[in-house]
């Protein structure tokens, strides 16, 4: 049986790519190693009765055109708003930003009147920036070293759009792309906790600190997070993030794609520099005119292929590509709700994100630990309690809590991640939460701790990097994943990439999968 296209990996990008290819009439097969599709966007019943978005836990950047074109709501996807971010502080105070602008302003004003005013200005500026950046998400990044005039024109087009912006926006745009999150925010705000919480988004998934240049641009992501077209909203998916993957999978199947789980790929078959299909771990060979890999470049090129079949400078570049997972995940099954000292009791503050980022120094100290090969003794955390918004994920009266934790470096200086270190890491996380919500230790029924090594083993993400490679400036846009191969194609004819390791990168965005499908269809491969 021959397919038009085989997609390796059933993560949300692989599924998205498959859906678009199938929609265009291609005969598509998706091969997933695990028993469920979704990749890192997966819901699993880790403990009986408790459903966890095991890895990726919020939806924000999923492209509205994908939701529309694949008709995801009809396939069961429902996004529930995640209202705001609450940051508890060690002194018993808190910072609480919500989607209601006036309420946020009032809370910021408690900390600084000037900042409350600046918050308006800042918001307006960021919306402008978002408008500029948005089209870039859907672009096939042009190759600046190519003599192809089309690429040059695209770059010039970007240049012209840039030129036409107001001075204020131009400066902001350049700064966003180059500055550190803290330096950028310093221009507007004086409140430490506000800057710390906002800058935290700039370091997620990277091995950088909030003061490192190049972390500012991620601030924009929050303003591009569109759900059903509404600017700036972040959301949970009913039934966990796996429900998003399932909806995309359902759309793909409806378009005629075939999905096979428990089907690990062992090898990408190629002949004379042209991909011809894949060999599964069980020895089966499946042929197709096009192979699309949604897994990272390390697996695609160094594991599934023979280095000798690839140009050596390409192999060097693939080896240089940086993963360096820096985060872990702790999933808790809770008997009751955590009780925060700063805002006691159950309340709307628990329905949004809870950020452990009390000061810039705190963020920097967390980073310092990681730089020298240790997990942060007091890490930065982004936590959500999805069961408050979507009670279906936990037994009545009980809750699930998802804690994204940074920094947890993949490479430890004093050894490798093992059971003892995993538990020590889990303890550090719980101890940290307990400083703000002292009842946490009494209400934990079960705890799942995922280290970067666990994430690598379980989800096939090299070095546990949640974005399939760091989102740093030298690995973005036309440099992602490697110079010269940013347009979803590879040195191997008919082999394409469509994962988060390609432009525009990670998050439950779907853009890489959709862009790759566009490219493949443009090439007219059948």
């Amino acid at each position: 049986m021959k397919y038009d296209a085989i997609v390796i990996g059933g993560g949300h990008n692989g599924l998205t790519c498959a859906a678009y290819l199938a929609r265009a009439g291609r005969k598509v097969l998706v091969l997933e190693r695990r028993h469920v599709v979704g990749g890192a966007a997966v819901t699993e019943e880790v403990f009986p009765g408790f459903q966890f978005s095991v890895c990726s836990y919020v939806v924000s950047l999923l492209r509205p055109e994908i939701i529309r074109e694949l008709d995801l709501p009809r396939h069961g996807m429902e996004l529930l708003p995640l209202d705001g971010t609450m940051t508890p502080m060690p002194n018993g105070d808190y910072l609480w930003r919500v989607n209601d602008h006036d309420q946020t302003r009032r809370d910021i004003a408690r900390h600084s009147r000037l900042d409350a005013e600046a918050y308006d200005e800042y918001g307006k500026a960021m919306v402008e920036m978002g408008r500029f950046a948005k089209p870039i998400m859907g672009m096939l990044p042009p190759d600046p070293t190519s003599l192809d005039p089309r690429g040059l024109l695209e770059l010039l087009g970007m240049g012209k759009r840039f030129r036409d912006m107001r001075f204020h926006d131009k400066v902001n745009q350049v700064q966003l792309l180059t500055m550190s999150a803290v330096d950028f925010l310093d221009q507007w705000f004086e409140t430490d906790v506000l800057k710390a919480t906002m800058s935290a988004s700039g370091i997620i998934g990277t091995f950088l600190g909030v003061r490192s240049p190049g972390t500012a641009y991620v601030l924009l992501h929050h303003y591009m997070g569109e759900i059903d077209g509404a600017f700036r909203s972040w959301g949970l998916s009913r039934g966990g993030t796996g429900a998003v993957s399932n909806a995309i999978a359902a759309a793909a199947v409806e378009f005629g794609a075939e999905i096979r789980t428990n089907a690990p790929v062992a090898q990408i078959l190629s002949k004379n520099g042209r991909a011809t299909g894949v060999a599964l771990a069980n020895g089966d060979e499946i042929h197709a005119s096009v192979v699309v890999s949604s897994v990272d470049p390390n697996l695609t090129f160094l594991k599934f292929m023979n280095e000798r079949d690839l140009p050596s400078d390409f192999v060097d570049a693939v080896k240089r590509y940086k993963y360096r997972g820096s985060s872990g995940k702790v999933n808790l099954a809770l008997d009751a709700l955590p009780n925060f000292t700063c805002l006691p009791g159950a309340g709307p503050h628990l329905r949004g994100a809870i950020s452990i980022s009390p000061s810039i120094d705190y963020m920097e100290r967390a980073y310092d630990d990681a730089k020298y090969g240790k997990f942060s003794s007091r890490p930065y955390m982004d936590m959500v309690i999805p069961s408050l918004t979507d009670p279906s994920v936990a037994p009545a009266g009980k809750h699930v809590m998802s804690c994204f934790v940074q920094y947890a470096p993949y490479h430890l200086k004093d050894g490798v991640w093992d059971d003892a270190r995993r538990e020590a890491f889990g303890d550090a996380v719980i101890d940290t939460i307990a400083e703000y919500a002292p009842n946490i230790k009494d209400i934990i029924l079960h705890r799942q701790v995922l280290t970067p090594l666990d994430i690598e083993r379980e989800f096939g993400l090299t070095e546990g990097n949640i974005f399939q490679g760091e989102l740093t400036l030298e690995q973005l846009f036309f440099l992602r994943p490697v110079p010269g191969y940013a347009q979803y194609a590879t040195p191997v004819e008919r082999l394409y990439m469509c994962g988060s390791a390609t432009h525009p990168g990670g998050g439950i965005m779907g853009a890489p999968g959709r862009n790759a499908a566009t490219r493949i269809l443009k090439d007219g491969r059948r």
Binding site: P144, T145, L147, F162, R163, F167, H168, K170, V171, V174, Q175, L177, T178, M179, S180, D183, D186, Q187, L208, G209, R211, S212, P213, G214, T215, D313, R320, K322, D361, E364, D368, K371, Y372, T472, L473, E474, F478, L479, P483, G484
Partner: protein, 530 residues
């Protein structure tokens, strides 16, 4: 647009500040027939290129102990060799000492460097010539952009487009791998950059130091790769006769002064400027601290952008957005300078006499540099700073009496803003730390110290007018270079005030004592006044 000013004034241009860039700019304006006055607040011109008595009988380069590579066009156009500028024929670029007593030298000849590296790593010895060459090529390309004012973004001049095309074709002329390197290396962390190129930790640290010198960045901070590329760019424009000025930076300043005077520039020292005078949105002269007003058709500021706009200009002459942006222009000094008067030539384990006559770095590995930076993040100075030192008395025996020597040390990180204490209280403790660090590499060093001068970033600000004690007049970061130096749209030495220009290191290209910013500004000002 040409500034419309009364033709009565005695001067066409007034240059504020007699540092290397101010002198270069003034001299070139003078050469172009522009009647130029240079005013300097200190009693001597030279700015950071100064020499002074640090202890009875001992003289040392007060601040900078090396010039940036002096720009070839500056030497040529001003014929500085007529004013006593000579260069030493040195073979060593920089050396690095290891705490275990071994040493590593980067020679100007990459083959010689590779030979030495063989003792550390065969792989590095093999990789070095290609890395060196690549860096040279990238430096050459960026260097091209260093030679004139950056293009205007809104209204590019035909000249700008021509130079842009030229640069583009030069970029395309690079080997493909280098094209990609240029795009990748700038935004990278210098530690990543060097780690993917070489494996010897001492070599990595030696190279990475170029990326963080004077900056509020650690080697693992993204964007530190840029400064390393800028340093390479400077080298590509250097006077071919040698990179080390005989007699030290002060000799460069003296030659510039000579050239300026030859071209009719009037120099007034001991004259601090209190205000830049503006009428009808146009700079028309300066008011000195003494109250004296001097009129001119153009004012060229050789002091840093923050001081220029926030202290010397009145706020109502600047657009509020511009003032706001300039107030956030980053100039956080991190470098301290310690000058030692020594009773004898110190011996450093592993260092030959030839190495001691050049620049020597003390930083064993990347983590050491990063840890030194960690302190700065929390408003403290490094307990184990990284150091670059020279012993200028080896080449210039007149600096100390027979047998005695002076040692000049840069120490980083010493952040301008200390937490919970002040530099007036911490000056000597910092000096002790630097002494102790040198002692580790040169046992007995401290017992030969007969005098010591410690200059903190606060001292650089107080004594030399460097805002925040930032030696480059503002950090050299991705968002503060080229068309963005000091601010996007004002990279061409012009300012929102007509007739006011920037010629300091806070303007493009702004990297060290090369004369580059002054020369580029002079071209713009001369065109404007023509």
């Amino acid at each position: 647009m040409t500034p419309t000013l009364s033709g009565q004034s005695r001067y066409d241009a007034i240059v504020i500040g007699g540092g290397v860039n101010g002198l270069t700019c003034a001299a070139l304006l003078g050469k172009a027939g522009i009647r130029t006055l240079l005013v300097e607040q200190r009693d001597e011109v030279g700015g950071c290129a100064a020499e002074s008595e640090i202890a009875p009988g001992f003289r040392a380069p007060t601040l900078a102990h090396a010039t940036g590579p002096v720009r070839r066009d500056v030497v040529e156009h001003l014929q500085l060799y007529l004013h006593g500028l000579t260069f030493l024929d040195t073979a060593i670029e920089v050396s690095s000492l290891s705490p275990d007593g071994r040493a590593l030298t980067l020679w100007n000849d990459p083959r010689k460097t590779a030979e030495g590296l063989a003792a550390w790593s065969t792989k590095d010895a093999q990789a070095w010539p290609a890395f060196h060459q690549s860096l040279g090529r990238l430096g050459g390309l960026i260097g091209f952009l260093f030679q004139s004012a950056p293009p205007s973004i809104d209204t590019p001049h035909a000249r700008d487009l021509f130079s842009l095309m030229h640069t583009l074709s030069a970029f395309r002329g690079l080997p493909k791998a280098d094209q990609w390197r240029l795009l990748r290396w700038g935004p990278m962390a210098v530690a990543d950059l060097v780690s993917e190129s070489v494996e010897t930790e001492l070599l990595r640290a030696t190279l990475a130091a170029d990326g963080i010198f004077g900056a509020m960045l650690g080697p693992w901070s993204a964007g530190s790769g840029l400064q390393m590329l800028l340093a390479a760019a400077n080298r590509s424009l250097a006077w071919p006769g040698g990179q080390v000025v005989a007699g030290g930076p002060v000799a460069f300043a003296r030659a510039l002064r000579g050239a300026a005077e030859r071209h009719g520039v009037e120099i007034r020292t001991g004259s601090a400027v209190a205000r830049i005078d503006v009428t009808d949105d146009c700079a028309c002269g300066v008011t000195l601290a003494s109250g004296e007003q001097i009129a001119a058709r153009a004012v060229v500021s050789g002091v840093d952008p923050k001081r220029t706009f926030l202290t010397l200009c009145e706020a109502d002459h600047l657009p509020p957005e511009f003032s706001w942006r300039i107030s956030h222009y980053r100039s956080r000094g991190t470098l301290a300078k310690v000058n030692f008067a020594l009773s004898a030539l110190p011996s450093f384990t592993g260092a030959t006499r030839e190495m001691l006559a050049g620049r020597i770095r003390l930083a064993p590995d990347l983590d050491y540099l990063e840890r030194a930076f960690d302190h700065a993040k929390y408003g403290r100075y490094s307990s184990h700073p990284w150091i670059e030192f020279t012993i200028p008395s080896l080449d210039n025996p007149s600096l100390a009496s027979d047998g005695a020597h002076v040692l000049s040390a840069y120490a980083q990180f010493a952040p301008y803003q200390l937490r919970d204490t002040s530099w007036d209280a911490e000056r000597e403790p910092l000096g002790d730390i630097v002494t102790a660090t040198l002692d580790q590499y040169s046992p007995g060093f401290s017992s030969s110290v007969v005098g010591r001068q410690v200059l903190t970033p606060l001292d650089l600000e107080r004594g030399w007018g460097l805002t925040g004690g930032q030696i480059f007049h503002g950090e050299l970061s991705l968002d503060q270079f080229f068309t963005m130096r000091p601010l996007l749209g004002f990279g061409d030495h012009r300012t929102p005030i007509r007739g006011l220009f920037l010629c300091s290191s806070g303007a493009h290209p702004g990297t060290g004592l090369t004369g580059g910013s002054g020369a580029n500004a002079a071209a713009v000002v001369a065109r404007e006044l023509a």
